[in-house]
Symmetry: C2
Subunit: 343 residues, 2 copies
């Protein structure tokens, strides 16, 4: 049995790699929301100076990466690896953002769970002795996502009450073998869970069972309970999915408690921003983690956080062919006081 393994889905990172810096860049709407003060850069221009929304997304992510390097006082070539991915077909948001960066590149696809997946892998390659520092990053853009996954924006389609609003945002985080920042102590990797939901306008319901499975595995594998965390933050379940997750745990007799929240609930005002069930997209959990969450950890509000980003692994083609929506969730434990020695 691999020595770092706890149970079936979790590994403990003995060296607990530390966050050297995090950065987040968002669009105008996100900048008008309650997390405004935590973002590094808010663009008034949804095109980020480009001619298409896809190019805008790449420029946004590239800008976020550059900001993150600046904050970590590193130049890109100091990095050993970049892990990145996004929602666009063939992940062009991230590949075009990284094409001028001279750093070994791992492309990942985890849909909206990408921030947790890239963070997990970056932490593992450092803990495994393969790297001193690595970047984890991802993005989404409301306009590029809408026209790819749903309808042309110009069509002005009506949104259902369970629909979520794709965040225009990017997050990047540099992990290092040593440092004083929040440390990654545990990684719980999700299995794919298909609960049979076929409504592509109800991603929260499709992803909630995956979040439940991964969080339950995390608690079982580590022997921890929800009370061991100051905040349990799921990726982008939104209002519908977060309520389902809470109910699923209540059926087990487990109360996730007031520390349980969701990036899709945090990023927009519940009243007034007209986002229906909340935010979504890779950029949702990425921009909330790399700004708000890391800073609240660093300032002492939340010494111990469980970050569990969720992804819906369908495509418009699979939905049109009548397939249900598989979900996935990856969880990462972040702690301000370093790893613990006895779990």
């Amino acid at each position: 049995m691999a020595v770092k393994r706890l149970g079936k889905q979790t590994v403990r990172l003995e060296s607990a790699p530390a966050v050297a810096a995090g950065a987040c860049v968002v669009g105008k709407k996100e900048g008008e929301g309650p997390l405004r003060k935590w973002f590094d850069y808010i663009s008034e221009d949804s095109y980020f100076g480009q001619k298409s929304w896809e190019k805008a997304e790449s420029v946004m992510l590239n800008k976020c990466f550059a900001l993150c390097c600046d904050k970590a006082k590193l130049v890109p070539s100091d990095l050993d690896y970049i892990f990145a991915g996004d929602l666009l077909n063939q992940c062009i948001g991230s590949t075009f953002a990284a094409r001028d960066i001279p750093v070994p590149y791992w492309g990942v696809y985890g849909a909206c769970s990408t921030m947790a997946e890239t963070l997990s892998l970056a932490a593992m390659v450092i803990d495994g002795g393969f790297a001193d520092c690595a970047c984890a990053m991802t993005s989404s853009h409301f306009c590029s996502a809408e026209r790819q996954f749903r309808l042309p924006l110009e069509y002005g389609g009506q949104r259902t009450p369970t629909a979520q609003w794709t965040v225009t945002g990017a997050g990047a985080l540099i992990l290092a073998a040593h440092g004083d920042g929040p440390r990654v102590t545990h990684v719980t990797t999700g299995t794919i869970r298909d609960a049979g939901v076929t409504d592509a306008n109800n991603m929260g319901a499709a992803m909630a069972p995956a979040a439940y499975m991964t969080l339950r595995a995390h608690f079982e594998d580590t022997g921890r309970t929800p009370a061991d965390y100051d905040a349990i933050i799921t990726g982008d379940l939104g209002e519908v999915g977060h309520a389902i997750l809470t109910d699923l745990f209540l059926k087990d007799g487990v109360d996730l408690g007031p520390c349980s929240t969701d990036c899709g609930l945090l990023i927009y005002a519940r009243r007034g921003q007209d986002v229906h069930a909340g935010g979504s997209g890779c950029g949702c959990s990425a921009s909330v983690l790399c700004g708000h969450v890391l800073q609240r950890m660093t300032c002492g509000d939340w010494p111990r956080v469980l970050f569990a980003a969720t992804g819906a692994l369908m495509s418009p083609t699979s939905s049109l062919q009548g397939e249900s929506i598989p979900g996935i969730c990856h969880a990462v434990a972040l702690e301000m006081n370093g790893g613990e020695g006895n779990c």
Copy 2:
């Protein structure tokens, strides 16, 4: 500096994880080619019993995974991780193939370099002590790829001389911490290299510079030369790309020699199968590696192989928006006699 690091792009795997089993499933056309005897299963039905080509691709990959588990004498739940990805939008080929498999799942996107990327990461998580065994797998399907990336098949468009034929095939490989099979000793991770090629019907030319950069880094980082390998096998450069790669090395005064070949050249007959510049797709390097290459290693023909799968990181959208095609290449050294102690 991380102890396992050699130079900027390569890591040495001290434990040299071993291949427990490899399996490959292909379509009819591939089964008519020169590698026929190395494939585990050849389907006469391009639909694999399904109603769409996308579902066919998932079923093909799932079948390949099951075969690989059988050959390794494992049940799926024995695996610690699966690394998988494919070319379809949102990687539905692999996510739908894996949705009933109760194993922690890492989705990757490396276009046609996916087999090398999944193999690299699987080897690293085992060498890093996070897993005892992990599966790396990927697929492509001519029909699902053509209609997504190019034109409806029914249109019967003329193919250009530089075009390659997307392989209908899947490859899966299970790596374990111990065993007698070929061992992964080095992983060289590519950076994204955009040489400015804009012709989406000339992927070989777009990817060759990336292959050159990664192979050059591998030789520099390890102190090895092409003569240290019994076979240097690139992913799917095809005839055009492989000639460019050979020329780029010749300009450096380096002759890759007769041991240099390409999965896109090996999988189809150069005359008679009408594939123009050769094979391509994630399934090309995957089905060649997991059948032909592994078996030629095991039987003693090729004790030391450098496997370097290549990927073109564009999408139809990026091409229509006038973007050039970024390429990437990841290289993995496989050796029958275990790791070496002195590089």
